[in-house]
Amino acid sequence: MSRRIDMETKMRRAAQLLFYKHHREPGVKGWELRRSLGRGYLKAVKALDTYIQPIGLRVRIIGKEGEEIGWDVDEDSLSSARFYVVLREPLRLYDVSTAGWSIDDVAGLTIVLATIISRRGKVDRKKVEELLKEKFPEWKVETYIERYKRRGYIEEENGVLTLGWRTYAEVDIEKFLHYVVGAPTEEL
């Protein structure tokens, strides 16, 4: 009985840590979870993952290199990985627009991310701007890039754009590329 209560307490604490934004970046590192929940932290987080499944959420673990990792990797990888709570299912375009994104916003982000990824993670900002200007008015292009940077989807250093932490946390990059280059998809 007490073990069950202990696990419930740990699961609640895990939910607080994972849902509540502690730094500017959401999510919690594995070692932070271990520090707060003790050695059995992974069980508590797994229990939380199962608990939130019916409402369409799941825990996603992102490794140091930005790759998604499973629950069964070694302790060292989990320790330095970041745990997030994300949606389990894709959003519809209508839902996204009610959340403040326009179609152009999302399309612009697709162009930026796909260009960065296809050039192995680094691309000159000017190159991306040129591409965006093919479809969007010039005044929007600057605003878009700055917005994506502010939201953490991309980063910029000396005029070179790279993927930001948020892209790794939220986007399944492999699927994304295949949807971009693949045949026209059914609208969501």
Partner: protein, 248 residues
């Protein structure tokens, strides 16, 4: 002749740097040709400056070779699509199709940002625990120095300061080996008191230039590293709040 050869070295360095910085195609550098040039120029060098440039050029070429290797590996993964082909695909799709492609692979993060009663309670307790700032201090009076005895009484110093600093510095050197490591992981030993003590000693090491610290402006991650050559120059103060015992 020597001057022109030196310029040649600088050209190789600049070319390799450009490739690395902009993420351009590393195969644009004809590695064999550049290495052959370096080999031919080597007998000319006498001065330290020239030899240093030669070593740097060689180093830059090896970095390009590394990028070439990475590119070959990358091309063999599922993530590789030819950039020109990708550009063509992007331009051939409508904004709606592009948005659809993104949405299918996007699982947005869920997080809360709100104040709750518990946070307000903690804030109130913290406010109550703050000491009033002395009027002398706010009026521009002199700040009082804290004596070593007082520091010992507060258990900030527990014995020989120099010895403890040295121990921590050695530990940092062993763990960091010049690489950036996580601040919180490093100071997180034992209980709350020990954590504060380690943070205190570490702040001294950083102030004295034996260790370096950086904070990621987006993630707010704090990293530290051991530096083999003492850092000089003006630093800046960084306040770091160390969680109370309830965080244990």
């Amino acid at each position: 002749m020597r001057k022109r050869s030196e310029e040649e070295l600088q050209r190789i360095i600049a070319l390799c740097e450009e490739i690395e910085k902009k993420g351009a195609d590393p195969f644009a550098v004809n590695v064999a040709h550049e290495l052959e040039k370096l080999r031919k120029l080597l007998p000319l060098w006498r001065r330290f400056r020239e030899l240093r440039l030669d070593a740097e050029a060689l180093y830059r070429i090896t970095r390009v070779i590394k990028r070439q290797e990475e590119l070959v590996k990358f091309r063999s993964t599922n993530l590789y699509f030819d950039p020109e082909f990708m550009e063509f695909r992007l331009l051939s799709k409508s904004p709606r199709e592009l948005a659809d492609a993104y949405l299918r692979s996007w699982r947005p993060l869920i997080s809360c940002q709100q104040v709750n009663l518990e946070m307000l309670r903690q804030g109130y307790m913290y406010w109550n625990s703050l000491r009033r700032i002395s009027r002398d201090f706010t009026a521009g009076g002199k700040m009082e120095e804290m004596s070593l005895d007082k520091l010992k009484e507060l258990r900030i110093l527990g014995g020989d300061l120099e010895k403890r600093l040295n121990e921590l510095l050695e530990e940092l050197r062993d763990k960091s080996r010049g690489e950036w490591i996580e601040y919180w992981r490093f100071i997180d030993r034992g209980g709350f008191e020990e954590r504060v003590r380690r943070a205190f000693y570490l702040s001294h090491l950083i102030s004295m230039g034996y260790a370096d610290m950086k904070i990621d402006p987006i993630t707010e991650e704090i990293k530290i590293r051991y530096v083999s050559e003492r850092l000089r120059g003006m630093g800046r103060s960084i306040p770091i709040v160390i969680g109370g015992e309830e965080d244990e």
